[in-house]
Amino acid sequence: MKEHRKTSPARTRLSPFAWIGILATALFVGFIVILITADLFYIDRAALLALFTKPFILHALWMSLWTSVVTVLIALLFAVPIGYTLSRYHFRGRALIDTVIDLPIVFPPLVAGLTLLVFFSQTLLGRWIEQDLGIEFVFQPKGIVLCQFFVSASFAIRSAKTVFDEIDKRYEKVALTLGCTEWQSFRRVTLPLASRGIIAGCILTWARAFGLFGPLMIFVGSFRGRTEVLSTTIFLEQSIGNIELALAVALLMIAIALVALTAIRAVGRRGMVKL
């Protein structure tokens, strides 16, 4: 076997085509690593310590975490039924609905914030919700969740639809003949098979919500201790010249994002979830 390995051309020689791929990968990965490393060298110990001692940063961290998690949960409530409906049912206007669902993904960030602001401050329905019903979103923590949901839920819906598309309908049909109602077939067959894709979509949604900045600045502002999240902390700190602290917060966000991406990989490697 050893001799075979030594002489095998496939193991020792790479084609020019393969080298192009390797080079592109090395350049891109190197670029990201260099940028993060440069940030690491720029910050000092005091800035790192401040991450865990400054109350406004801890508050922003807490705000970022809870709002993004709540956003994911709400997005999940919409993503599963919408994704399933778009995947399984064919009806007039389906393509249009599909496109509208994707719109927030391509919205310029500031436009998303502006749109929400205009709706709640300039339209009858928006003012009725804010003033008559008393459910306030503008410049309120609830507004952070709404803003994150508006911008990021499309990722969860898209992922859910894609994974439902990939599941053979025959599994559901067999389940129906084996005694399942439609709901049981969905819960016992479709949902476990879709779990990986749905979870991956949730993580993408969370990552998008967690790092949101532009729309939040317009719709809820950045009131310290109230509507400030980590992304707006970075903006505020760098705008007053506190670059070290801004970078420390940025690295904290990168670390959290890294955990999230690792979680995606872990979910991808695991088997399907039994429900």
Partner: protein, 362 residues
């Protein structure tokens, strides 16, 4: 017994059109048809997976048209088996029992009994991804049978298997069907598969049953030229018939075929390849009735028989035993004649579903 009365189901441009079907209790009925003829759609309509536009589905005397699939008590094995990939073999087989609320002990007992019958006990702990096609087929069958269905619906159950496994599974299906006395509807596009299991069969084309009957009827007495072609009748000649009493002469392209019975006008003559006798022409022997001079053309040895194209004024295809073919080849310089037996010739009066043409397809 399962039946369909005037079953109609429209799917875009395709439609099942007023399908009538009755399958007797404990009968193994095969729905034959080319791909796209509506076989799977019909099966799905029968088990309630597809909404029908008109008609009724009956099990025994009970009208089950309005019932959900789970209340019809039909065991369904779809094409490619649809073994649930997130469950083990044991969980797959016991899935229906679990949904219906059976406790663990009952599930274990019934799964063991079923796997014993199908000889798949060793697979219980395995995941579906590691199973062979034949193993998946048995698991799907066990999963359907464990609920003691009133009717078993099999959709192309062996089409994805290799030839050896296909024969083995067909025998297995047949054995279990007879043992349990289970009314079975079996969809297939494969004639050999149908021949190996069916009590009766129906040929579905373009959403309609063109003929229903015993396999002997379908093979030897197809109602149309298209059916004859589907049943691989081999030699189909279009011609004009003239009758003189109890016999008729049919003028085909380059010959005259004499048949029993009274026929007039446009007809198709069907002669199965295995019913053609090829023999050496003796010296000075004149050509008798239904004797045609032929030469041996391209031959394919298909193990049990040799398929030979016969060249001559009336081109035909014959199935000969390897020994008979070998003997003919050894005397290749002699003249040969093909002899058709009147009793084995089937006549179809006028082509009902296709323009007249001659076919020598197998």
């Amino acid at each position: 017994m399962i039946g369909a009365e005037g079953l109609t189901c429209r799917l875009g441009e395709f439609a099942l059109r007023a399908v009538d079907l009755t399958v007797d209790a404990a009968e193994h009925f095969v729905i034959l048809g080319p791909p796209g003829s509506g076989k799977t759609v019909l099966l799905e309509c029968l088990c309630g997976l597809r909404r029908i536009d008109a008609g009724r589905v009956l099990i025994g005397e009970e009208d089950v048209t309005a019932l959900e699939p789970r209340r019809r008590a039909m065991g369904y094995v779809p094409q490619d088996y649809a073994i649930l990939p997130h469950l083990s073999v044991e969980e797959n087989i016991g899935f229906g029992l679990r949904v219906r609320g059976a406790d663990r002990a009952e599930r274990t007992r019934k799964v063991a009994a079923m796997t014993d019958m199908l000889k798949i006990g060793r697979l219980l702990g395995r995941r579906p991804q590691g199973l062979s096609g034949g193993e998946k087929q048995r698991v799907a069958l066990a999963r359907a049978l464990i609920l003691s269905p009133r009717v078993l619906l099999l959709d192309e159950p062996v089409s994805a298997l290799d030839e050896a496994t296909r024969q083995e599974i067909c025998s297995e299906i047949s054995r279990i069907q007879k043992r349990l006395g289970l009314t079975t509807l079996h969809v297939s596009h494969n004639l050999e598969e149908a021949l190996s299991v069916a009590d009766r069969a129906g040929i579905l084309m373009n959403g309609e049953f063109k003929q229903i009957g015993t396999l002997d009827d379908l093979l030897r007495r197809p109602r149309t030229a298209d059916l004859a072609r589907f049943m691989r009748c081999g030699n189909i000649f279009d011609g004009q018939a003239e009758s003189d009493g109890s016999r008729s002469a049919i003028n085909v392209d380059s010959g005259r075929i004499i048949v029993n019975g009274t026929y007039r006008g446009a007809v198709s003559v069907v002669v199965r390849p295995e019913n053609i006798v090829v023999e050496e022409r003796r010296a000075e022997q004149s050509l008798g009735e239904n004797h045609f001079p032929v030469g041996l053309g391209r031959a394919s040895d298909l193990c049990n028989y040799v398929r030979v194209d016969l060249d001559g004024p009336l081109a035909m295809v014959a199935h000969l035993s390897p020994a008979a073919y070998g003997a003919l080849v050894r005397r290749a310089r002699r003249e040969l004649i093909a002899r058709l037996d009147c009793e084995q010739i089937h006549v179809i009066e006028e082509s009902r579903d296709s323009p007249p043409h001659r076919s020598r397809a197998d």
